[in-house]
């Protein structure tokens, strides 16, 4: 462990509530564009961050390795790197490994070693584990993060990558040279943690496999959620809201096979009084989901953008205690904490609306999803 961290609480040793800014852009035609729009967008909301964390997730950025898991790893010291690579070699075929290219930036300091690996599970290991590839990879990632001191996998999806650091998000974008990457969707986060340690791993997006979450708000249900999700093999090492949200989404969407709408009606379940108003079939379904996964209800203010292969989902808490705006222009869908963060990159959207609390906005590639941005909306007309 380096000196910086020896004198401070590590992320995960204390729970850090935080407020933030988020933004997300997707081109549903699959056209890839650089990270600079995301940087511009988040920079408008500078006041919502405090320089203690910023980060990006880009989807479609590694087309040449799309069948391989891209692991982005922070190392604090070469011993951590050695142990981790040993572990990786034991469990995966390593196709490519390199340092992630960065550019020195005066606002970004104390950087760890930042490495990238494109990997595929060793077929024999995978077979003997009796797990599917995702579960196998997820467990390996959790093990590294939990068991190898000084090593932290912060991105583990396919054809996607997370880039994050301590600093303002626009500086983080420059540091990682995101102009050089092209993706069909981007999410970005500026962080305003209310407790001191800003640790690189603690910045958003938080990611597991191809799921990445940027989050604005602070949830009051944290420990109820954490203690529940940890029953299912997850280890919440970072003690952040975003981490637990990501795991819950992974559990509900990937492992339980719920649709994203169903996931939303678990984690941002409608009030019972609202459920009562629904027709019988919907009422039964909503009651079933809320009751079955009662401990995954998230309370307190939050707005998140979930990135996944092929789409973005934005979701507000059911009281809509955090702001969120969405807009559409041609093939592109924009989501941000503030309208200005959209206008700065797209001054004249075709339409613009305020998503309703507890109801997801889902935007997917035409090829993988329905292609529309759907969900309940509070439209803003006159545009």
């Amino acid at each position: 462990m380096d000196g910086y961290h020896q004198h401070q609480y590590l992320e995960g040793e204390v729970r850090i509530p935080s407020g933030c800014a988020i933004s997300g852009i997707i081109d549903r035609s699959g056209k890839r564009f650089s990270g600079s729009d995301a940087i511009t967008s988040i920079s408008v909301m500078h006041d919502r961050s405090n320089g203690l964390g910023g980060g990006f997730a880009g989807y479609g950025i590694y087309p040449e390795y799309e069948d391989f898991t891209a692991l982005h790893i922070f190392y604090y010291g070469s011993e951590a790197k050695r142990k981790t690579e040993e572990f990786l070699e034991e469990h995966f075929d390593l196709i490519n490994l390199s340092k992630i290219p960065t550019e020195k930036h005066r606002a970004i300091t104390d950087e760890p070693l930042i490495w990238r690996y494109f990997v595929m599970p060793l077929p024999t290991k995978l077979a003997s584990s009796q797990l599917d590839e995702d579960e196998y990879t997820a467990r390996c990632v959790i093990r590294i993060n939990k068991e190898i001191d000084g090593s932290y996998v912060f991105s583990s999806g396919k054809n996607m990558g997370v880039f994050k650091a301590v600093g303002y998000p626009e500086d983080v974008g420059a540091f990682y040279r995101l102009d050089d990457y092209k993706g069909y969707s981007w999410t970005v986060h500026g962080r305003y943690p209310t407790n001191t340690p800003g640790w690189w791993g603690g910045a958003h997006p938080f990611s597991l496999l191809s799921y990445s979450v940027v989050h604005n708000g602070e949830i009051s249900s944290y420990d109820a959620n954490r203690r529940f999700i940890e029953m299912y093999g997850y280890a919440c090492t970072l003690k952040t809201d975003t981490e637990v949200i990501t795991y819950m989404i992974d559990y509900l969407h990937r492992r339980q096979g719920l649709t994203l709408e169903e996931v939303s009606s678990v984690i941002a379940a409608p009030f019972w009084s609202t459920i009562e108003c629904k027709d019988e079939e919907e009422r039964n379904a909503l009651t079933y989901l809320r009751n079955t996964f009662a401990s995954m209800l998230i309370t307190g203010p939050f707005s998140i953008i979930l990135g996944y292969n092929g789409g973005l989902m934005a979701l507000n808490d059911r009281l809509k205690l955090r702001s969120m705006v969405a807009a559409e222009k041609g093939d592109k869908i924009f989501i941000a904490s503030e309208e200005a963060a959209i206008r700065i990159i797209e001054p004249n959207p075709d339409r613009l609306w305020y998503p309703i609390g507890g109801k997801p906005v889902i935007a997917e590639l035409y090829t993988t999803g329905q292609g529309g941005a759907h969900g309940h909306q509070l439209p803003v007309s006159g545009l």
């Binding site: 729970r15 509530p17 935080s18 407020g19 209310t194 708000g217 602070e218 949830i219 009051s220 249900s221 944290y222 420990d223 109820a224 959620n225 203690r227 529940f228 940890e230 029953m231 299912y232 339980q256 096979g257 719920l258 169903e262 379940a269 009030f271 019972w272 009084s273 079939e281 039964n284 379904a285 009651t287 079933y288 989901l289 009751n291 079955t292 996964f293 009662a294 401990s295 209800l297 998230i298 309370t299 307190g300 203010p301 009281l319 205690l321």
Partner: protein
């Protein structure tokens, strides 16, 4: 008469300048403490009969009465305290087992009072329960482990039977026999009005109360009193009572003198014969036998009722709970050692079992460690005294709470702890019709409804303060608790940090 070593514990103090000799004290004391002396035109009292139930004090219209602790003492002795000496006198004189009622009065630590609750400041808004939705609805029962869909891909939503509580508090088991008809009726009416449940205890279900079935939990205990298929199907859930916090490992008996016409009929036993509840169920000598009974009850009710297994909090409670969770039970009820009772051997009540706070914390943690917490709901009882206790219990991991002593106090009980005498002046723990009449269920149920409505408001306020607007987000949310004045071992078991950390 032989020498009487015992001096009365209490003195009746009558303020003569206030007494208007209305004689209500005389008329209302079933222990015959007060008398009117026609010669002097004054009231007199025999305090040796007084149990300090406050009936006379409460009804005296001029507040001319109070009961004080006698200042008659033994020579001071920190070890051989007066009560210890008196107990020995009692046993020496009678050769009897000391019998006592209600929860233990001994000064064991109350962990509820050593935990503090969190509130939001700045980073997260607190919520006002009066205007924003604030939900305390709770479902009890086994949850699905995997999502199933039909051919159209629609969710299959038929869960195993659940209990829906509008408020996460239920009235725990008290049998008709241990408490009166009117006390039962009060509980039934209140449960119905509150959208929660009351529990028959092991005394069967009076025919008048079948109409409250949808708010009734019917209990099956070792005595199997009044248990028949109609009874099992009458309630919303069935509770198997393995043990009770006040007297773990001990059976009980309702003396034949209390088995009047109505109770005899309800319990389905002959008039004036003792109603004996054995210590164990004689068909359950092991955990797999429990499973057999659980499924026997499910078969008898065609899998329409959740089955609760109630156990006393004992040393290896978490292992026991794990076993119960795997027995097919839908709900585990754990009763802490401070729980009340109509009658228990005093030494057992005061020395056997563990506090519910620690039992709950360790059971919840154990079930989570085993990944089976969602397969079973957890209900805890045993001296839950306020909404703050409720909040703390839920934050430690309980789904819902059982209350009994608090409910009895709401009905007028003054905790004089002489339930076993059958002369409850408040009409609660008695079968004497003259005394039973003193509890008008209309008033009783109103008080219970008021109490839980007030608690629910407080729960909502505290939840709102934490920024939580649905009770499920509080469940097991131990970050919302901090310990105060607790040692490391206690903090570790409770799974909470010390205040300030």
């Amino acid at each position: 008469m032989a020498i009487n070593y015992l001096y009365p514990d209490f003195e009746v103090q009558r303020n003569e300048s206030r007494c208007i000799t209305c004689r209500v004290c005389e008329r209302q004391c079933a222990n015959l403490v007060h008398h009117y002396d026609a010669e002097t035109g004054r009231m007199t009292s025999d305090e040796s009969l007084c149990v300090n139930c406050h009936r006379c004090v409460s009804l005296c219209p001029t507040r001319a009465l109070k009961i004080v602790k006698t200042d008659h003492v033994f020579k001071e002795n920190a070890n051989w305290r007066g009560e210890v000496i008196q107990d020995i006198y009692r046993q020496a004189e009678t050769g009897g087992v000391l019998l006592a009622s209600m929860g233990t009065p001994k000064p064991y630590p109350v962990y509820w009072d050593k935990m503090l609750i969190n509130a939001s400041q700045v980073t997260n808004p607190s919520i006002d329960p009066l205007r924003e939705p604030m939900e305390t609805t709770t479902f009890l029962g086994k949850k699905s482990t995997t999502i199933r869909r039909d051919e159209q891909g629609k969710l299959i939503t038929d869960t195993t039977p659940q209990l829906k509580l509008a408020i996460p508090i239920m009235f725990s088991a008290m049998s008709y026999g241990s408490i009166s008809y009117n006390a039962h009726k009060s509980l039934a009416l209140a449960a119905e009005q509150l959208g929660t449940f009351y529990n028959t205890g092991e005394g069967g279900l009076h025919e008048d109360f079948y109409r409250h079935g949808k708010n009734t939990i019917v209990q099956v205990a070792s005595g199997r009193f009044g248990v028949h298929p109609g009874y099992l199907n009458a309630g919303a859930a069935i509770e198997i009572k393995m043990g009770q916090g006040a007297k773990p490992g001990i059976g009980g008996h309702l003396p034949g003198s209390k088995i009047g016409q109505d109770i005899s009929k309800t319990r389905m036993i002959p008039l004036h014969s003792d109603a004996i509840s054995p210590a164990p169920h004689h068909d359950i000598y092991s955990i797999e036998d429990l499973r057999q009974l659980v499924y026997a009850l499910k078969e008898a009710t065609n899998y329409t009722k959740p089955v609760i297994v109630k156990v006393a909090a004992v040393h290896n409670i978490s292992a026991i709970a794990s076993g119960i969770a795997r027995s097919g039970a839908d709900i585990i009820a754990i009763d802490g050692f401070r729980g009340g009772t109509g009658a228990a051997p005093a030494r057992i009540r005061d020395n056997v079992g563990i506090p519910i706070e620690l039992a709950l914390a360790s059971v919840d943690e154990r079930l989570r460690a085993e990944g089976i917490r969602n397969q079973v709901s957890l209900v805890v009882g045993g001296s839950i005294r306020s909404s703050a206790d409720v909040i703390k219990a839920i934050a430690l991991g309980a789904d819902a709470i059982y209350i009994a002593t608090s409910a009895l106090i709401a009905l007028g009980c003054h905790l004089c702890r002489t339930c076993h005498s059958g002369k409850c002046n408040w009409g609660i723990a008695t079968q004497n019709p003259e005394l039973v009449k003193r509890l008008n269920p209309e008033i009783g149920s109103e008080h219970l409804v008021n109490l839980l409505t007030a608690w629910n408001h407080e729960i909502k306020e505290m939840m709102g303060g934490m920024g939580i607007n649905s009770i499920e987000a509080l469940k097991g949310n131990r970050l919302m608790l901090r310990g105060i004045g607790l040692c490391d071992a206690e903090l570790r078991i409770l799974g909470i940090s010390h205040a300030g950390a």
